[in-house]
């Protein structure tokens, strides 16, 4: 149940199976898949001397190289592949497809292969982006999520989602029992289609039976619109929220006073042990660990300074590459963390986040309203942050009779927030308002849950800024205790399974997952032995991308349904 390991295994197998010098050809989809799990230097050690894109047509002819093509079988990449095979630039071709290939496509390849250069055709199901060991993304654009209405899929996105999800199942060797969110038409359609794929590809999914079948839980983002709106304080989530992580890389070009070599940095838990250790720490703890790290670096520097004997020189020369690596890593993380703390100070994130967490977790209408009004009137605060506050307010107090959503929108207008942005409030309520949600998101709908949240409040919170736990936590908690209701989360094939605690759970959130949820999953995995959970989504949201998605909903679909 480690998605990074799974893809790495595919990549290693691909490269080790072909002996001799080789070139690796990728397409636009598989490039990030491979780059997330391996490095160029590790490929070079396995005699893979050339890595190129298949859509790059001016490649030199090198008949002495063998060519490994790792491609997603899309129309486009197949066209490029056919053009490549008509004029082969390399000696032998080993074709690896990241998903199942249609028979007609193979036939076409066979027809084109006049030079008889194809040696192998394989399907390696590495068709998703492995971000953390327990987090994967399908890397889709949230703009192309919806079809005709906000309840239906875009056909292309849907096809790719089904293929990607079945690739995840195949690469993890799981034949799951599928459950989905009852209220979400999209989740239901996806779950049914995945089940169809499993039954039609019965031979592929024929794995060794486990005692308890793994569970694939298909959720919908609209059931929990709060999580992507909150300011994040743990390292990975915060970097994504404030700067943005794209395919494991962080673009630092907009950061002031940054060195040239740090314009673009790589954050990968697989290749960077410090990041692996600290990715789920909050900013305060992160400061402490990074101080340790710098101290360690300093002692190394000192020990490298005093070179008095030949033995010292020898040691220095031996340790120097390691030392350079360490220094690069230290400066990378120091630059990132200093940028994060700069942004925290500049955007008044502490103040905003406290209010956000309060809105998300506790019901306190009057003081919340007062605080929001005060913050909206503060000119130093970012427009997006103001909008997010109003959105959270609207979500929490949507059902309250005398709520002040209208007046808050007016207030936004008065302080000069554009109408386009304030239109997000009705759009969000349309997309993920009370009627669209299935679960008791704010724990205020029944007497029992009110009592529970009151008890939680009595206990007190450790950290005001990270007190919110995503709704996913409650759902998974119930699932693991085998108490998740069949009526709310029905099984696809309708059959009643014996209630037993699941061991392996794959959660897929259609409409995008977040790093806060990923952090929760990682904690769950490490704290409860015997249970392994993997989280995935169409994409990984930060507040910006989620608001774009909501905006698109507002512009594209709201008028249609009103008419």
């Amino acid at each position: 149940m480690n998605v990074i390991k799974a893809i790495q295994h595919y990549a290693d197998k691909m490269i080790n199976d072909v002996p001799g010098m080789k070139a690796l050809l990728l397409d636009t989809e598989t490039t990030p898949i491979i780059s997330l799990v391996t490095t160029q230097s590790s490929l070079l050690t396995k005699e893979c001397y050339l890595i190129d894109r298949i859509d790059n047509r001016n490649r030199d002819k090198m008949k002495h190289l063998k060519c490994i093509c790792f491609l997603r079988p899309t129309r486009e990449s197949l066209q490029y592949l056919i053009a490549e095979l008509k004029e082969p630039a390399y000696g032998d071709y080993y074709l690896y497809f990241s998903n199942s290939v249609r028979k007609s496509d193979i036939e076409q390849l066979a027809e084109v292969d006049e030079n008889e250069v194809i040696r192998e055709v394989q399907e390696y199901y590495g068709d998703y982006l492995a971000i953390n060991p327990d987090l994967f993304s399908l890397g889709q654009d949230p703009h192309h999520l919806f079809g005709n209405s906000v309840n239906s899929w875009d056909p292309d996105t849907f096809e790719q989602t089904v293929r990607g999800l079945s690739a995840v199942l195949l690469s993890l060797k799981k034949k799951p029992v599928i459950r989905y969110e009852r209220a979400s038409a999209m989740a239901k359609k996806l779950a049914l289609e995945v089940q169809n794929t499993i039954t039609s590809e019965g031979q592929l999914f024929d794995f060794r039976r486990t005692d308890t079948p793994p569970i694939l839980l298909v959720l919908d983002r609209r059931n929990d619109p709060v999580t992507p709106l909150l300011t994040q304080w743990t390292y990975q989530a915060m970097v994504h929220e404030l700067i943005g992580i794209h395919h494991g890389r962080v673009d630092m070009t907009n950061v002031p006073e940054v060195k040239n070599e740090l314009k673009e940095i790589v954050l990968s838990p697989d290749q960077d042990p410090f990041f692996k250790k600290s990715m789920y720490l909050n900013l305060g703890d992160l400061g402490a660990t990074i101080k340790h790290y710098v101290d360690e670096y300093q002692t190394k520097t000192k020990s490298n300074m005093n070179i008095e004997s030949i033995a010292d020189m020898k040691r220095f020369v031996e340790e120097y590459p390691e030392f350079r690596k360490l220094s690069g890593n230290v400066s990378k993380h120091v630059a990132l963390v200093s940028e994060l703390s700069r942004r925290v100070a500049q955007d008044h994130l502490l103040e905003i986040s406290e209010l956000e967490q309060g809105l998300a977790c506790n019901e306190n209408h009057n003081s919340d309203l007062k605080n929001i009004q005060r913050l909206i009137e503060t000119p130093q605060i970012n427009e997006d942050a103001k909008i997010r506050l109003v959105l959270l307010y609207a979500l929490r107090y949507e059902r309250m009779a005398n709520n002040a959503v209208k007046s808050l929108i007016d207030l936004l207008d008065r302080v000069g927030v554009s109408e386009r942005k304030s239109a997000l409030v009705p759009a969000l309520l349309f997309y993920a308002g009370y009627q669209q949600r299935q679960d008791d998101l704010f724990s205020n709908q029944s007497f029992l849950s009110r009592g529970k949240s009151a008890l939680k409040g009595l206990k007190g919170v450790e950290n005001v800024y990270t007190q919110h736990t995503p709704l996913l936590a409650d759902t998974l908690d119930l699932l693991i205790k085998a108490r998740l209701k069949d009526t709310d989360y029905p099984f696809v094939d309708g059959s009643q399974y014996v209630r037993e605690r699941p061991q392996d759970v794959i959660v897929f959130i259609s409409g995008g997952a977040t790093f806060e949820e990923a952090r929760y999953i990682a904690q769950l995995n490490s704290s409860t032995p015997g249970i392994r959970v993997v989280l995935g989504g169409n994409c990984i949201h930060n507040s910006k991308s989620f608001l774009q998605q909501v905006q698109q909903v507002g512009e594209g679909y709201m008028n249609l349904s009103n008419r």
């Binding site: 295994h9 193979i106 066979a110 394989q122 199901y125 195949l170 690469s171 592929l204």
Partner: protein, 266 residues
């Protein structure tokens, strides 16, 4: 980490497409083929006839015919190569040639067998059966001869007589030596067999020893099974105990609450 190998499928498709490509090649060269094929057939028929005659001649142990036939076959092959164009015709010529070759090979093999058997027979005749006839009797006859010789020696007095006797003595010595080496070999064989016997005996004792430990292991597994069953029984008992406790607690609580409500309301 599952994957699916579709290489064979791909190769099958390639094969199929290749075949399709061959079939679709236009068959325009058919008419010139007809004459050449009849010529070919004629030659093949001739060859077949001559082959038949060769098999007859074989009895007269003629080797030259085979080489000649071989040459003729080669010529036939070259003819077919120079003329072959369409696939089916080429197949046909090929199969004819191959069958002819096979026949030729058969006949030559038969010839060889005959030769070999003859050679064997000759060899058996030439060697004076040293193994088949029992040795001791020979020695007896030799002795008899020698005694006869000694008896006749005063009568004959010829030198050749003495030389014959000496010769026979040498023969006897040689035979003795041979017998001695044989007996030695027999002894070594006997000793190795005895050694083997002792080894097998050792093995048997070892196996017997193993039996005891295996029996002990068997007993232990039986014990384990019993223990596990006992543990399960205890667990089940405990579980039923707990569940009954739970229901009891719930009942007590319900009654307490009911009483409390009763008292507080009235």
């Amino acid at each position: 980490m599952n994957f699916k190998d579709r290489t064979s499928e791909f190769y099958n498709l390639v094969e199929r497409i290749k075949k399709r490509g061959k079939v679709s090649v236009p068959t325009t060269k058919k008419q010139p083929m007809a004459t050449s094929r009849s010529e070919f057939a004629r030659m093949a028929a001739q060859l077949g006839r001559s082959l038949a005659s060769t098999s007859q001649k074989l009895e007269q142990l003629t080797t030259q015919d085979i080489t000649k036939l071989n040459n003729q076959l080669k010529i036939l092959q070259s003819v077919s190569k120079s003329k072959s164009s369409s696939k089916q015709a080429a197949d046909h010529t090929n199969s004819v040639i191959v069958s002819l070759q096979a026949k030729l090979a058969d006949t030559s093999l038969g010839f060889k067998d005959v030769l070999e058997s003859e050679v064997d027979i000759k060899q058996q005749q030439s060697y004076p059966v040293p193994s088949n006839s029992p040795q001791p009797r020979r020695r007896v006859t030799a002795n008899q001869q020698s005694t006869q010789d000694t008896y006749e020696s005063p009568q004959s007095l010829g030198i050749p007589m003495i030389s014959q006797q000496q010769q026979q003595q040498v023969m006897i010595e040689q035979q003795d030596q041979r017998i001695e080496t044989r007996s030695n070999a027999m002894e070594t064989v006997e000793s190795t067999i005895a050694e083997l016997g002792s080894i097998f005996q050792q093995l048997a004792t070892m196996v017997a020893e193993q039996r005891e430990t295996i029996q002990r292991i068997d007993q232990n597994t039986d014990d384990i099974e019993m223990n596990v069953l006992g543990a399960q029984n205890q667990l089940m008992k405990y579980y039923s105990n707990i569940s009954s406790n739970r229901s009891f607690i719930i009942k007590v609580f319900v009654t307490i609450i009911l009483l409390f409500l009763l008292f507080s309301l009235f």
